[in-house]
Symmetry: C2
Subunit: 465 residues, 2 copies
């Protein structure tokens, strides 16, 4: 599965490696095992290792790396925790992987301003651990304990985006090393600004193709005084989606509203030895004061009942909430129980919420027709859902069927005014859909921006555009 043949100019690579070795000593690693770990390892996208991995400790060191690589036109690929799903960290043209393992510090916390300044290698869980006693937290939760630099780069979101937004809403400013080796600060710490082009949002979601993030100023949220959570069965996915729409329309500020389809509930029952009814379910969480979360929960219960769902079991107590949410927490791990020995290939699309039920229903029918096994988890408040395709990677025919299914899934989402990826990003895997999604003028505009900021194409080439 591993391809080590991407390097374009062996001489340039050798010179870069020598220059980096002189500067970084044993913080430059070139063993095949380490290089392979720094390429895609978690989906069916081929492993394309970089030529070397380097571990910088400061923005200045990242500038040095970029300058050395740039002068030899050798690619640079930023690396966080390697949990991206569409081949973002692969090195199809070789180059140097910049691993931010050693740049994982919290540089400042400003509780009054509800922001903090951090290094890109810090993971979201480590940040929240650090913030724990200060009454604030960073809300974005994409599942994996990803690095915050990586989350910004893929415009990550996750279970509570319906209330707290995505990375685009929670990054205030970035420090970015550009292709020319200079450092750009995209914005100040002010909460809003109209002072010029939104460079912050241009870099968020650019997957390292326009520059390398070396510092992030993140928006924090106050830890809610009270949290209520619970689960609610429904007769159909359609009823789940209608409940989500009505909840949001009536202004209930739901913090999490997650769909598990019947198959996913079954996986969790198998995995966690639970006895949940194997029917579509919503998992909900409400944040606020005690009075307000109780009110929100009761109102949601009424909506559910009107739609033939319920009963909505909810609680304010953390232990009980965790227990009720166990099925959701274990969803990712439980899936393999449906087909032990298979590989789990996650995919993600997002549509306007009014089309979500239709999109999920058509997708379920397609799964059945294709003979695939693929449970569904959805961030229904955003119209975003994931499938985990359980594929036997030793069966080329089955891989072909699964890939064709994935293709149809994306086309279905696009036909419903949706997007080929709600939160996983483009990487290598979804490049081919960008023209269908955005149209040629928009894609050409992206390419023009790319050429403007990275004329030699050394910043994570072969991704997005």
């Amino acid at each position: 599965m591993s391809s080590d043949s991407g390097t374009r100019d062996p001489k340039a690579i050798a010179q870069v490696k020598a220059a980096l070795a002189a500067k970084f000593g044993n913080r430059l690693v070139t063993s095949l095992a380490v290089r392979q770990q720094h390429a895609n390892t978690i989906t069916w996208i081929e492993n394309q290792p970089p030529d070397a991995v380097v571990y910088p400790q400061s923005t200045e060191e990242v500038q040095d790396i970029v300058r050395i690589c740039s002068s030899h036109r050798v690619p640079v690929i930023p690396f966080g925790t390697g949990t991206s799903l569409e081949g973002h960290v692969n090195a199809p043209f070789g180059g140097v992987s910049i691993d931010f393992r050693d740049m994982n510090q919290v540089l400042a916390v400003h509780p009054e301003d509800l922001d903090c300044v951090i290094q890109p290698g810090l993971t979201r869980k480590a940040l929240n651990e650090y913030l724990r006693d200060q009454g604030v937290f960073f809300p974005i939760d994409p599942g994996a304990d990803a690095s915050l630099g990586g989350m910004a780069s893929t415009r990550a979101s996750g279970t509570n985006a319906v209330r707290y937004g995505t990375m685009k809403d929670n990054v205030l400013a970035l420090k970015v090393v550009l292709a020319n080796g200079e450092v750009m600060s995209t914005a100040r710490r002010a909460k809003k600004t109209s002072a010029g082009y939104d460079l912050t949002r241009l870099i968020v979601g650019a997957e390292g193709t326009l520059g390398i993030i070396t510092e992030l100023t993140l928006r924090l949220s106050g830890i809610p005084e009270a949290i209520s959570g619970g689960i609610c069965p429904f007769p159909s996915v359609d009823a789940c989606c209608k409940a989500a729409i009505q909840t949001i329309q009536t202004g209930i500020p739901v913090a999490r509203i997650e769909l598990l389809d019947a198959l996913q509930v079954r996986a969790v029952n198998l995995y966690s030895k639970l006895t949940l009814r194997e029917t579509p379910m919503l998992f909900l969480e409400f944040h606020g004061t005690e009075g307000s979360v109780a009110e929100q929960s009761e109102r949601f219960g009424e909506i559910a009942e009107e739609l033939g769902g319920g009963p909505f079991e909810w609680t304010l107590r953390p232990e009980e909430r965790t227990k009720l949410w166990e099925a959701r927490h274990n969803a990712a791990f439980s899936t393999f129980t449906l087909r032990p020995g298979s590989s789990m290939i996650p995919t993600d699309v997002c549509v306007p919420i009014s089309r979500l039920a239709e999109c999920v229903a058509e997708t379920q029918a397609d799964i059945a027709e294709s003979g695939l096994i693929a449970p569904i988890v959805g961030h229904v408040g955003d119209g975003n859902f994931h499938l985990t395709l359980l594929v036997d990677m030793n069966d080329p025919e089955e891989i072909k069927v699964a890939k064709a299914f994935n293709e149809r899934l994306v086309q279905r989402a696009l036909a419903m005014d949706g997007t080929c990826t709600g939160e996983h990003g483009v990487g290598q895997g979804k490049m081919k859909y960008l023209e269908a999604e955005h149209g040629l003028p928009a894609l050409e505009a992206m390419r023009a921006v790319k050429r403007a900021l990275d004329p030699d194409g050394i910043m994570n080439p072969g991704k997005i555009v």
Copy 2:
């Protein structure tokens, strides 16, 4: 005050006018009066009229205009309602003003998705009038009844950005005519996406310098079930700011939290014949259920009291709320009472909220030392405040003093990690601060993006970069 000498190439302009006249008939206007109305008229920035004004009725017509102008390298300047404050609509190099008066339709409303599709000439009040019976509204309120295309272009916000965000958060997708005459769609209607560069946010705030917005998909919000509002006096601006910080830190989802300084309260008393205590005041609004807004209001009252402020007078009744808020509503109009006959020059900066009290205090001291009259209104939840400078425009010496004061105001905000404009935009007036604010690498990145998308520099030239 009017300068009509910016045109670079009279022959090119004549050819463009002839081509546009053939196509648009009496929808092309070249009278000086109309041209002057389409340049800056509301601040001390010089009036620089375009060579012609044209009124398109469709995206295709905008494409035609851009193609005609582009082939002669004649500038195009989009025009909404002309309420921008930093010379955004001026034509320093001549060119054609594209007035969106006739493109003011609501094209679609999707209540289930909480979005709508509109034309750029529609104003925010007209949109909300249209939406009135559908249980949804568009929250951004910059004061003026601006066009939504203009609001997107300047990244407008206003009184309730603290809860609903700015235009960057409430534009889902745009249709944009590019410098080459092609139409780009920046995104689909899905609520979130990770599919490539964020072209939507690149155009929002670009002030027409990267392309011309011809259609907007906007995010809507559910009309809150209940609104409470009220006013609260404080012993100092510092106490006001502390109250705002604590309110937000404790997670009270305040919808509006507006500061009026003592001088502004005085202006309102004079204008509206009120007898408010002439001390710094906060005007607040809470949105939610009846129970929740009552709880929010009570909690705010407690915070105010602890800080030596109060009593917080609030109500759930619309008539009483309007009455309590009268002072805030009339702030903009009332200011002239402090100096009848003078001109009102608004300016705006934004700092991290922890620095706001300090920034306002230093600014008030500077006003006093400069012998100026300039009441302050602040969107304190965002750290954003406005001054209205009351200037005798016939006194060059006074204008000089006021301009020097404005300069110091911006430098003060920048020194506090703030921005030269929180919501008015750059236009011509604040271009000179961009390098100090962003640093040269970021400014150069903006220029590179500008050149990439507008190589001939015909899109609203002389603004931002």
